[in-house]
Amino acid sequence: MNIALLTHEFALAGIALLIFILDLSGAGKKVTGRVFTFSMLALLVYVALSRKDGVILNGAYTADGISWFAKLIFLSGAFLTGMLSTDTLKLSDKRAGAYYFLLASSVLGMMFLASSKELITLYVSLELATISLYALAAIYREEVLSLEAGIKYLILGAVSSGILLYGLSLVYGVTGTTYLEKILFYTSANGFQPVFVLAVIMVILGIGFKLSMVPMHVWTPDVYQGSPTPVTAFISVASKAAGFIFAVRLLSYTLIKAGFVWEPILAVLAFLTMTIGNLIAIPQKNMKRLLAYSTISQAGFLLVGFIGAPVIGVSSVMFYLMAYTVTNIAAFGVVAVFEKSTGSNEIDDYAGLAQTQPVLALTLMVALLSLAGIPPLVGFAGKFYLFYAAMEKGYLWLVIAGALNSTISLYYYLLILKRLYIWDKSKTSTLPKVHVPAMVTAALIICCVAMLAMGILPGFVIDITNAAAEGMFRP
């Protein structure tokens, strides 16, 4: 057994324990925050430079292009979340250690998930990733909204993982194996069994919770609003990415023979997710709730690409997940510093931000326009690629619905931008005064540069995701 393949996970587990020890020895929240952030950066660089492919434990753990790229997404999300957290968190020193430990253990679960090709490992690592997030959502325990977020996330998450587990055990019951390779072999050799339909529906519903896909989306606005803003940013990008990696491994790859079952289901759900998310977003008054509904609609766009042609579909989803990570963290970064300075999340209070903090307002504009899919930002390239993948499969109606939904989303993003730049001077007496800490500034600069660079030159990243997707489908 080549244990060297697990180096990245061992390193991350080491970081988590280091934070634990630092916390025990009385280091303050600034120290643990910086240690977490910079070790995430170091690990990100290390993973990016040391790609090792291989298989251990009879194929239960596989390091390939998909897992490598997914780890880059998770670690960038964790690194940027760390940068947002260090100066905006309202935690006592005593609980900051637990906060960063839970972030690290959540990333650890996601990294194991990216590499596992065996049902039990997949499920256990998904649970590690989510259980840490349940606690993180409720970590502002003095605030009723945060506790409510934690409880809702926990209960609905437990129900959805029960459904998922039922689906997975049906797959095991039919095929008699938990290894994805052997399940794929079984479905190719023995053909299709009706019970697979049931298994696929349950897996879709269980995973739909992690993706905040309609009809499993009801938790999203409450959890996003109640959680600490950096945690919201992390849930919205990394947890969603983990859900998609799970779906890629299980549906696009293992159950590809059952594609005729999950494709039409997901097509309808993608349409509903985009449309419902967008329509409910329009009347929202709270910034975090609005972004929550916007992430629901983004999940719909991702699903459009997901049902596309196998290789391009996986590749477009991976590309968009990376794009979405930098974009959404930029948007939530602005929300986090605004909340820290003014104590408010109401969109009306953002009026006049462009005068007091022109650069911050510009950052929010870039992020929102990228979410809406305006060139030359990465959101455009990403959405274009997702729609292209769906067109390859002939889902014209879905692509048209997606394009219409992009327009709807542009409407409510522009409503926010209008508040930033044009405000009624007679009504708004005090303009918001926002202090932007250095770490958040750095995070926002990184996000904006990434949005522009990947938007203008998407080819570099798409080459990587294409190679990764082809590598997964190659026998």
């Binding site: 006592s92 253990s105 065996e118 606690a135 019970v195």
Partner: protein, 168 residues
């Protein structure tokens, strides 16, 4: 023959106690019916020669989960009051959705040609095999679970523990 009778006996026990758990008006009784239901599941494991699993089922689910639930009920005020109704107004949607789910599961199970897929009966002594599998093939999930327990512990403590001498 004995096995078949035992199987159907335990299956009936599970179904009836689960139903009683749902409709019992007192939440304390619900928890006790849950224990009975989980005991039935342990019985099924015994019929399938999985003695280790049956033991774990009794220890963990009845010994820990249900007892914990009973503690929570006893420590929560007003929950045992006569006027605290544990049912809400969503009865009709719940019945419809459960009925549809049951229909879906039963029809899929009946239509599937299980043939060779029916679980092979495990060998008599599978406890040693389970242990060996956990430390060989499934060592990775085994290790992840230990991190998971640590994360759950730290998460629970960080939410519940006091904040003595902390700056605000």
């Amino acid at each position: 023959m004995v096995e078949t009778i035992l199987f159907y006996g335990f299956a009936a026990l599970i179904l009836i106690s689960a139903l009683l758990m749902i409709i019992a008006p007192n939440i304390y009784h619900s928890a006790l019916f849950l224990a009975l239901c989980l005991f039935g599941v342990a019985g099924i494991y015994v019929v399938l020669n999985s003695y280790f699993l049956a033991g774990i089922q009794v220890l963990v689910y009845i010994g820990a989960v249900v007892v914990l639930a009973l503690f929570v009920i006893n420590l929560t005020r007003r929950i045992l009051d006569v006027d605290s109704d544990q049912h809400n107004e969503q009865l009709l949607p719940a019945v419809i959705i459960s009925g549809l789910t049951a229909f879906l599961i039963i029809s899929a199970v009946l239509k599937t040609n299980w043939g060779t897929m029916i679980a092979h009966r495990v060998a008599q002594d599978n406890t040693a095999l389970t242990g060996r599998l956990l430390l060989n093939e499934f060592v990775l999930p085994f290790e992840i679970v230990s991190v998971l327990l640590l994360a759950a512990l730290i998460g629970a403590i960080s939410i519940v523990a006091g904040d003595k001498g902390a700056q605000k």
